[in-house]
């Protein structure tokens, strides 16, 4: 298993070395950014069981905060209080983006600590819509529909000594890959810790989790916060890669895309959002390359998605895992599942 992982990583790291088609790299970068966002959503949806249908808000907040910090701004943050900020280095802007997105996650977690299920969905959807309207209408700060332009690319180091600039696609590809791997490791450590066990308990049976002494609110807030910060990081990378941000980053369809990636890949599994993200992130491009009529492309996309959800309701990763278990360890498969045992 370790070897397979290493081989995969080596393959992913080698892509810019032999792939000369920049468009392919662009598609991979965008897919990678979405995979980071999907992984962050999976922490909430897959592990605590709470569906954040406004997850794109954290992504967009990350994009806007990082852009504004690196562009500088002059706006009335409160009526009559003019705040002027000089442009800051991009890496600092990205840190601000992660922090502020995380803070927003904390607030949402606190506000919604009493609401679950459908009500949590409503709180997050409303939050995303409010943030979108703010981005659209607070022209002084966000330029509204005119968008924030000329967002600088990330640069690390100083021009005199050694500078790493993320202007080109291969550099951005590596940035996304490294952040994605770090996010994966962070989520893995988190869900395998005591905190992760508490989150899963909360998902499976909340009253029982409370009665065995899990501080439900604390872990729900923690999960929302980490998840939001990670989505914010994805948004910040997006902003400095695409280098233009407009209120369309808050479109509902992006949240839906993340949910599709998590659910088809397998929610509550570590690899799920990665697999789902790769498939449903790359599929539109593959179909386009196949030169099928555009409307047919989307029909195929939709049908494939329905098929996955219909036949693999738990997602691709759990399905593959079950299939492998059945074929490689016939001994354990021989034990009948107890669910079909007659009740005694």
């Amino acid at each position: 298993m370790r070897l397979v992982t290493l081989a995969w990583l080596a393959f992913l790291f080698s892509i810019p070395l032999w792939m000369s088609d920049l468009y392919v790299l662009h598609v991979l970068i965008m897919t990678g950014i979405f995979i980071i966002a999907a992984m962050s959503l999976n922490l909430l949806l897959g592990y605590t069981g709470q569906l954040s249908l406004g997850h794109v808000a954290f992504f967009g907040i990350g994009a806007y905060v990082s852009s504004l910090a690196s562009l500088g701004f002059e706006a009335h943050l409160l009526p009559g209080v003019l705040v002027k900020m000089e442009p800051k280095p991009v890496w600092l802007g990205m840190l601000c983006a992660v922090t502020i997105a995380g803070l927003c996650g904390w607030v949402i977690g606190r506000i919604s600590f009493k609401v679950r299920g459908a009500y949590f969905v409503i709180v997050t959807v409303s939050f995303a819509e409010v943030i979108r309207l703010v981005a659209l209408n607070w022209v002084e700060l966000t330029q509204g529909p005119m968008a924030l332009n000329n967002i600088p690319a990330l640069r690390l180091g100083t021009p005199e000594l050694f500078e790493l600039s993320f202007l080109r696609k291969p550099a951005n590809y590596y940035l996304v890959l490294v952040v994605a791997v770090l996010s994966y490791i962070l989520i893995r450590r988190l869900v395998q810790s005591r905190a992760g066990r508490a989150m899963i308990a909360l998902r499976e049976n909340e009253p029982l989790a409370t009665s065995v002494g899990v501080d439900v609110t604390k872990y729900l807030v923690l999960a929302t916060m980490v998840s939001a910060a990670m989505a914010g990081a994805a948004g910040a990378i997006y902003a400095h890669y695409v280098r233009i941000v407009d209120p369309d980053v808050f479109l509902f369809i992006y949240t839906v895309t993340m949910v599709i990636m998590v659910v088809t890949g397998g929610k509550g599994t570590l690899a799920g959002p990665v697999v789902g993200g790769l498939i449903f992130g790359l599929l539109p491009e593959i179909l386009r390359a196949a030169e099928i009529k555009p409307e047919v492309q989307w029909v195929i996309y939709g049908v494939l998605m329905v098929l996955v959800v219909y036949f693999l309701p738990e997602g691709i990763v759990p399905a593959v895992r079950n299939w492998r278990r059945r074929h490689h360890e016939p001994a354990t498969a021989a034990a009948p599942p107890a669910s079909i045992e007659p009740a005694r």
Partner: protein, 234 residues
């Protein structure tokens, strides 16, 4: 050991428990019986800290736990075995047991306790790596009881342990509860099956509309004409 005085619990404006008082001595097996909506489950939830009490006072071994958190109460030694969905369905049997000692940090003792429970319930050991949701109803109940014991409690609150179980399993469950008591753990149990509850218990409280209307030893209540007509169908 456990003293509940003038407990009032509300769901919104509706009072489910009104001025209820009960008293449990160390080593006793006390049952709460009554019709649906009498406030039995609510009382247990208030004791374990899952539901905040509107007023009244709950003390455990002399310490006021009326406003304590569920964690704190568990740490003091009260385990709650709630009704209905009793296990974490997608966790394995072993993980369920580990959740039971979520607050304990004495790893060696935990391992020993788990071994002991596995010896007592070999079926759980056999199924230790199986998702708890795939166990039969009786096995899930054994798991739920074992999980409650994993916190090494001084007092266990059982809520409707016989609910949804086949008759022979009900008997088995009651035997396990008796065993637990005989090992020095105090038990408070809520039970619909009034006859079995009264036979089993040292003392019993009859709850009606959130109040205690009768109390006495199991044998006394079994002979009580009101209990007979209202709960035993005799």
């Amino acid at each position: 050991m456990l003293k509940v005085e003038g407990l009032v619990c509300r769901y919104g404006k509706v009072a489910a428990v009104r001025e209820l008082s009960i008293d449990v001595r160390a080593g006793e097996l006390v049952t709460l019986i009554g019709a649906n909506g009498a406030g039995k489950t609510t009382t247990l939830k208030a004791i374990s800290g899952v539901l905040p009490a509107a007023s009244g006072r709950i003390t455990f071994q002399g310490e006021d736990i009326t406003r304590a958190s569920a964690r704190r109460i568990l740490q003091l030694g009260i385990a709650h075995c709630p009704e209905g969905r009793r296990v974490f369905p997608y966790m394995t049997v072993r993980e369920n047991l580990e959740m039971g000692c979520y607050l304990r940090s004495d790893a060696d003792q935990v391992a020993a306790d788990m071994r002991r429970l596995f010896e007592r319930f070999p079926i759980l050991y056999e199924r230790r790596d199986q998702a708890a949701g795939t166990l039969s109803g009786g096995e899930q109940q054994m798991l739920a009881i074992s999980r409650a014991l994993m916190s090494s409690p001084k007092l266990v609150l059982f809520d409707e342990p016989s609910l949804g179980l086949a008759p022979n399993l009900v008997e088995r469950t009651f035997e396990i509860i008796k065993e637990i008591r005989s090992q020095g753990v105090t038990v408070v149990m809520v039970e619909q099956n009034a006859f079995a509850a009264l036979e089993l218990s040292d003392r019993s409280y009859v709850l009606e509309q959130g109040r205690v209307t009768l109390t006495g030893t199991g044998a006394e209540l079994l002979d009580n004409p009101h209990v007979k007509s209202a709960y035993l169908g005799a």
